[in-house]
Point group: C2
Chain length 157, copies 2
DNA sequence: TATTGTTATACTCTATAACTATA
DNA sequence: TATAGTTATAGAGTATAACAATA
């Protein structure tokens, strides 16, 4: 592993040394790269990664409790409130307060929400295909297995 | 690769399905995990990841141009201005306007800045050791090689 | 008393554009 | 005219605490 020297001009060569051996730094840089790819692919479509994952999570778990979904997706409750309000205003999601626990809020997709999600699914997964990120299919799979271990330490791999 | 079912209660089991095959989602989740580890390890020390990488970059490239460093570290110029102001106020960094191009700003560490960085280096790299993230040394190395390819597509690996 | 979700505040980081001073 | 950095503004996301309704 060599330190990248990203030259932008003559004198503007900057060495990063052992910084590139920091897993945290590499993940941060990778995330910015992936976000760039995401923005390029989703240009025009008016959707954020958080919105897609939330819609996806609701589709997989109909009538999911808002707080439970927020916890699994690592979205803070206060932020989830705003995110859901936006999705409801857009007519993609409906909220329901169940009689058995009237403190809670349960979420489900509207037909429009499902349709919207279905149009986005393949595009969303295509963000990690070879032509978009420059890894071989083998490398991409290997990377996802390792990241899965890192992100979900308890889960079966 | 199995979808993680992070149970938080009884009914609160949430499935994530093929969402966990999205590289972007996995990197996002991994980054949050790494940030948690970072915060735990750096608790009390009053330093952000961005400050450490900036100090590190200045140490490796004395008299580096502020804009060149910002570009390599993927920090926006406007944000870099504030970050540097903070470091200067803390007495860790000095700014110099060179006579050959009086528009530019060149950065270097003060003795205090170097001392501060030296105290942080090992701790910063330790964030990715096995006991902290739950990967074997082999897996950790493999992961860093793959992330390096992803984050720095052009660089020699 | 504890829990679910909401509101409010503050702070970080990002995106963008307008601005200055240089070149 | 273009570039380097700054300032200002708006927005997303986060952290935190206070709060209302409910259990």
């Amino acid at each position: 592993m060599t330190a990248p020297r990203l030259q932008t001009g003559d004198d503007d060569t900057v060495a990063l040394g052992t910084l590139t051996q920091s897993l945290g730094f590499l993940i941060r840089m990778s995330q910015l790269r992936m976000y760039d790819v995401f923005c390029r692919i989703f240009e025009g479509l008016d959707t954020s990664p958080g919105e897609i994952t939330t819609l996806w999570g609701i589709d997989l778990n109909p009538e999911v409790r808002q707080g439970a979904l927020a916890r699994v997706l690592n979205i803070k409750p206060a932020h989830m409130t705003k995110l859901v309000q936006r999705l409801v205003r857009s007519g993609l999601v409906v909220r329901r307060v169940p009689p058995e626990d009237r403190r809670s809020v349960r979420l489900s997709l509207t037909p429009k929400g499902l349709q919207h999600l279905d149009g986005l699914r393949q595009t969303f997964l295509s963000v990690h295909t070879a032509e978009n990120i420059g890894l071989t299919p083998t490398e991409s799979t290997q990377l996802r297995v390792l990241l899965h271990k890192l992100a979900f330490p308890g889960a079966p791999s």
